[in-house]
Amino acid sequence: MLTDFKFWYIKRDDKGKILEAAIRFYEGEITTALEDGIEVTRYRRTAKLDPKTEAHINEKRAFRKDANGNDVALYYPSDFGEITTEDELAVFLKGELAKDVKREPVETLKITRDA
């Protein structure tokens, strides 16, 4: 099973430094399905991970509830250091994905379309 993350929100100060990042983690697999009438093979997420039951996310972690009351993991400069960009945050989060002993981090995949 593969795994990846998505941002819910990123909070910055007026200098652009990231103060807080709310991150969702997923598991999924490579599947083929019709999209707009074309067969597309790509990574598709099958489930959102519960951050409170996944050891690599839950460890020493703060959480925030989203609009539907679901817990979302929060990360701070104490976790990722002084950064300003999503790319820097992604580098840190890829390291967090690597701590998942049950799943393999997905790399950025190119969409393939069969004519």
């Binding site: 990846d4 993350f5 998505k6 941002f7 819910w8 929100y9 990123i10 909070k11 910055r12 100060d13 007026d14 103060l19 709310a22 969702r24 997923y26 999209e35 707009d36 597309v40 790509r42 990574y43 598709r44 997420r45 099958t46 489930a47 959102k48 925030r64 989203d66 609009a67 539907n68 679901n70 999503e86 790319d87 992604a90 989060l93 890829k94 994905l97 997905v106 950025t108 995949l109 969409i111």
Partner: protein
């Protein structure tokens, strides 16, 4: 003055959604009838959301109209903070020009916060822009950079500090409710990236919100020497 950058929830959605709705492609109509059709399809788990309009080879007759929708969970904004401004942004993978079309931003209307329905097509007909400047399809960047729409006062007022904020991205003729200048078989479109695209670094629709903390919410220590 903290800022927040929000992204829609990827499939499987639990709090917000993005994608597109479209009218049937098996029918052909004049513009007004096409615009008022009931929706026939929706895509909320694809890697892209295509918006556009397709003209047939018959004068002033069209076959397709599609509307994009992006919902953001903006409930993390501190209730006491003031929302000062907002920018709605999309990345695109490909486009096709024609009939001088632009992309405009309006309110989004969905029956559900976490799933799109074909019927959401007919509820997204607002003629009120949430950004005063449309972006022409010719100017839409498809090389990996965001296309930005600065929200006007109505757009900023649409940002919900206690729940979700919904936006729609549509063809300018659709928002204007004015038929485009028909061109035989013209099919202007834009494929926008959704939250379901692969990859951890987000290329998803995003909403950047600038806020001001409420007065007194930030403690400033003072020393009084006597």
């Amino acid at each position: 003055m903290p800022s927040y950058t929000f992204y829609p929830d990827a499939d499987p959605e639990t709090t917000s959604v993005d994608g597109r709705c479209a009218a049937s492609t098996s029918l052909t109509d004049d513009f007004a009838t096409l615009r008022a059709r009931n929706g026939a399809t929706q895509v909320s788990s694809g890697a892209t959301a295509t918006i556009g309009i397709t003209a047939t080879s018959t004068t002033d007759v069209y076959s397709t109209l599609s509307r994009g929708i992006a919902v953001f969970d903006t409930s993390s904004i501190t209730d006491s903070d003031t929302v000062d401004s907002g920018t709605f942004s999309l990345q695109a993978t490909s486009k096709g020009t024609g009939m001088s079309q632009e992309v405009a931003i309006t309110i989004g209307v969905t029956a559900s916060n976490t799933a799109l329905a074909a019927s959401d097509f007919q509820t997204n007909t607002s003629t009120t822009r949430f950004a005063d400047t449309d972006i022409s399809i010719a100017s839409i960047n498809t090389a990996g950079s965001y296309n930005d729409w600065t929200l006007n006062a109505a757009g900023v007022a649409n940002i919900n500090k206690s729940g979700v904020s919904k936006f729609s991205f549509r063809m300018s003729c659709d928002v204007n409710n004015v038929a485009p200048t028909w061109v035989s078989s013209a099919a202007p479109f834009v494929n926008f990236v959704t939250a379901d695209a692969a990859g951890g670094t987000s290329t998803a629709p995003k909403l950047v919100v600038e806020t001001t903390a409420a007065a007194g919410s930030t403690f400033t220590p003072k020393i009084i020497m006597m």
